[in-house]
Symmetry: C2
Subunit: 234 residues, 2 copies
């Protein structure tokens, strides 16, 4: 690091390795999954890990996380938020590393498979997360907790859905988030009562012969729904 | 830092200065205030700043923030939460510093004045925050936004009140958070309808001759209120 411009008080301070770790959730139109890969460096080489990286001097944390995501999935402009920092002094046996966890929501069908394969990354069930290195499992649990909370207040689930989707697909996302089955009739009634979806004249017939109508999410209507003091409680 | 135990992959990575900055809100039974101090080191020595510190190798971020708070206020065991990281590469002209902002809520009357004076810290009006160094004003604005959101879901305001308080004092806190006047009759009616406060037989007569009854917050009742699916919306 260039220290020529460093204030005197700063020079005597200790420095730290800083990493970003990305909790990448994806939806394949049926269920939510988590993207994990086998760690390539010691310690714990070969163990399951979140996808992360040490940060560099020319990027802020958010851009560092975006870079990790793009490298591992080929995707740009995806939903990405800081979760929180993990800084226990012995969290990484390789050395002291402060990690800033970020969570991302993506549509699995938009992934560049080549990138994912090059990264040797694989999808795991949202409701059955395997053991992970360091405190990564805690990061995932914290992210799920945050998502559950956010899903009640913001339309984040639409980051997981294709532009056109069925009501049962939307319901599957909420069932994953809340980890319980929801009554289909009540769910449909409630989500339509919010008046934030527009029905198309197309049908998805992959799940049943009769098919299910495809809907699109209307951001303008959602913003006006929230502006009226409503909450997105399903 | 001890590098004898450092993994080979880690050694070649860049290291960073990491700081915690504390956004300390206090309540003096009338209004919410923010604790600031004049910066003692270059760059921008003498300018108004949040209270912060570079972190050391033997503490995690939360404990570092607790230490800063204890040194500047003399208080232990206070409400303290991580807000988020601030990591733009040019945010601090002294050098690249990644700062993890934390917000705290305290009762001003419990402060150790000696500590605050030694720190040369002063209280500023919550609704009229002066210019601050670096991105500290942004940190304060982000903390206020977070507090407003949290106050709707959690009983955080009781961290600002003495054990026994009046309804008008509680109302003042909400008026600061929401930055608007609330109707006293409606506020009293609503907060009492939650059934989470216990009325004492004592009165506070500092604000009026007639006086206002003192109440205590009942954590057990609050927990059962939330468990029933209620929200703390005032």
């Amino acid at each position: 690091m260039n220290t020529s411009n460093t204030s005197a008080e700063y020079i005597k301070q200790e420095k730290f390795l800083v990493a970003v770790d990305c909790i990448i959730f994806g939806f394949d139109t049926e269920s939510i999954k988590l993207l994990l890969f086998k760690r390539r460096v010691e310690p714990l080489k070969g163990s399951l890990s979140l996808i992360g990286s040490f940060i560099k001097n020319d990027l802020n944390l958010n851009d560092s996380a975006k870079q990790v995501l793009e490298e591992s999935t080929g995707l740009k402009d995806i939903f990405l938020k800081e979760l929180r920092t993990y800084s226990n002094i012995d969290r990484d046996p390789g050395n002291r590393v402060i990690s800033v966890a970020h969570y991302a929501l993506i549509r699995i069908n938009e992934l560049d498979i080549k990138n994912v394969e090059e990264y040797d990354a694989h999808w795991y069930d949202f409701n059955d997360i395997p053991d992970l290195i360091f405190d990564h499992k805690q990061m995932v649990e914290d992210a799920i907790y945050r998502l559950r909370d956010e899903a009640r207040r913001e339309p984040i689930c639409f980051n997981l859905l294709p532009e056109e989707f069925t009501i049962p697909q939307l319901q599957s996302i909420y069932e994953c988030f809340y980890q319980r089955n929801l009554d289909s009739r009540n769910f449909r009634k409630k989500i339509l009562s919010f008046d934030i979806l527009t029905k198309t004249d197309k049908k998805d017939k992959t799940a049943s012969k009769k098919g299910a109508f495809l809907y699109v999410y209307d951001k303008e209507k959602f913003d006006s729904f929230i502006a009226k003091g409503n909450r997105f409680q399903l």
